[in-house]
Symmetry: C2
Subunit: 396 residues, 2 copies
């Protein structure tokens, strides 16, 4: 049998990060490649108690079929929290539960993009989202970014160039993956004004927003949304646990209604136990205090890694310390080839993610991504020393 | 903002069954509309113990990210079970875990169908699958069915007519939804031979296979698959609990590899807790005995409903008693319009699913679907009396 695949799937290959996993299984390898939250932040004891409670109090409630919109109490809890942040407007928006934020990318693209419609994305950008967009055979166009997010002039030039074909603009405004930047308020407003001018949707992806380690909170783009243009993706993956696969989407009611039809045709509904777990966790937790405790964990981590980069790597890389999230983005100085560096680092038993992984066409750039939330302090010290050794050997 | 939706999503409306839910929320309504397993069959105590065990023994194992292929011990358990049934061939097949069987329909279509490729489906067929296929903008063509499944001549005529454009044939060979028929072995072989002759994939959907209440087990189409043509969808929804959303797919290795790329771009992986729950349940359970206990529950139910149909409805309907599954399919006798009947039944506080719900273009047919697994015996008696009253009033 000669299998004939769809065009959409032929464009996507398993991500380079995934390929790296093979190496990071080796216990001798120090991995800065992960995109996952710090395990020490998981509220294990609380979740255990809740799991017990669920099966004692409402076993049928998690075992039978649920509605595609999601577990009603959880929907309400998120609506309330997001209303307080002005990210949800009762009169114009709706919200439903997704199987992780990845599914928001999937369902929005499914709902509004025909093949060869244009999606504008900051570039470099989260490879998982880029891959999802590609599976709909859209024409994915990168928008330049600087140290504070999207280049607004370049965004306008591309909106102008592609006109009606543009369906949405993809952005992670807080502690962007992979670059770590946070888009300032003026830029968010400028981006929204352009979306309004050109009447295109904005997909605001905010997985890391609560993991702020310094600086002041910046309003979500969704808070400006007086015309129903912004679709907001949230998730419990980074603040509770990624393995449960619970995310959510907020958007204008009409759009959400169609996305729910898509959800029904994709996985019917999100695993109910996972939804109830999140709901009961919120119910019994002082969430602002909880976020503060997470921030303390992440602050310690990002500070420590920055210190070690400063100590060992400044001859070879430049970087901006992020105000939160999970990642530090390093630019290699001239004379060190990134691909060769990442490969050599792996031979020296350190895994970092090559910057090319986050480019739409995988082109070579001179940067790599470090995760600071997972490795131990000891591994961070050792890892930076090994990266320095790797860079040093390539200059000679 | 004038929202512009994708063509693919414009073709799909929320299913009629879903619309019926609004009515079946009314506690006065007796519902035969569900497609869910019997709640009394849920092994609640065991699952509670297992949930406890999971959070005591391996909390990080269910809270951190998993791999897209699924929880390895569960994959191995299913492979072993399906190898014993000759439905999995170690040397040619692979298997991964999905978020319910619905996701198998989604990922196969995503992986092999371009827009306007042809999908052949038995018709009437499960509306959830039909909707999923439609979200890929394929040309969905119905194949006639009789009391023992697909009309093989009609299947061949359509394979001939659409030629290369046909990407796969969709079938539920055991206790089909909605009609309840079971395809005999000769027909399964004939179907496979045609797939071979025309080199098209078969999507064999088997959610109800273990819920056999009479007759002899018939080999899966996948057991004949010496050329790598059959993709087999399995699920824990009907044998364990639908709310956990755990299914799986078996198929030729090359095809599975591409489907996993699609899975990664859709929801990264299936909720880990749900996967581990299923795995630990299998580990501690004598599964053949467990299936026997389920069959006893369902046998009692289907026998009872058949008796009550025989007692109250034979003046108005004909039906074939199924050998398992969840549904009985009733044909209204001449002179009773199905849509009017279903509407009137609802006014009389009984919900049944109109047969048109299972037609590709929603056309009117003279049948309706009854679920026997959910209603109590008392409700079955009362419901059949009310349906008789409804039919009677329409003849006069």
């Amino acid at each position: 049998m000669e299998y004939r695949f769809a065009d959409r799937i032929s464009k996507v290959s398993p991500s380079a990060i995934r390929e790296l996993f093979k190496f990071t299984q080796d216990p001798e390898v120090i991995s800065f490649a992960a995109g996952s939250p710090s395990q020490e932040a998981f509220p294990v004891e609380e979740l255990k108690e809740i799991a017990n409670e669920i099966f004692s109090e409402m076993p049928y409630g998690v075992l039978k079929y649920g509605v595609s919109e999601g577990y009603e109490p959880l929907r309400q809890q998120i609506k309330d929290a997001m209303k307080a942040e002005k990210t949800f407007r009762e009169e114009a928006d709706n919200l439903f539960i997704t199987s992780g934020a990845q599914q928001v990318m999937d369902l929005l693209t499914k709902t509004i993009c025909n093949e060869h419609d244009v999606v504008l994305s900051e570039e470099p950008a989260f490879v998982g989202s880029l891959n999802t967009f590609k599976t709909y055979n859209v024409d994915l166009v990168g928008v330049k970014v600087g140290a504070d997010g999207m280049d607004i002039d370049d965004l306008e030039a591309k909106l102008e160039k592609y006109g009606d074909r543009v369906k949405f603009i993809y952005t992670i405004p807080n502690f962007q993956n992979p670059m770590g930047f946070t888009m300032p308020i003026e830029k968010r407003k400028a981006l929204y004004d352009l979306a309004k001018k050109y009447q295109v949707i904005v997909l605001e992806d905010n997985p890391y927003g609560k993991l702020r380690t310094s600086g002041e909170e910046v309003a979500n783009i969704k808070t400006f949304d007086d015309e129903g243009l912004v679709v907001y993706a949230g998730t419990f993956s980074k603040i509770l646990a990624p393995g449960i696969r619970v995310g959510y989407v907020i958007g204008p009611e009409k759009l959400i209604a169609k996305m729910i039809v898509g959800k029904q045709a994709t996985d019917v509904h999100t695993s109910l136990f996972a939804q109830v777990l999140a709901s009961k966790f919120i119910e019994r937790t002082n969430m602002p205090e909880y976020f503060k405790s997470l921030q303390a964990i992440y602050r310690k981590k990002v500070d420590f890694m920055s210190e070690q980069i400063d100590k060992y790597l400044l001859d070879y890389v430049t970087y901006n310390k992020p105000e939160g999230g999970l990642f530090i983005w390093c630019q290699l100085k001239d004379g060190i080839d990134m691909q060769a560096f990442c490969k050599k680092a792996l031979e020296n038993k350190v895994a970092v993610v090559p910057g090319s992984s986050f480019m739409i066409d995988g082109q070579n750039i001179n940067s790599f991504r470090l995760n600071f939330s997972n490795p131990s302090d000891e591994d961070i010290v050792k890892g930076m020393q090994l990266l320095a050794k790797t860079a040093e050997s390539m200059i000679k």
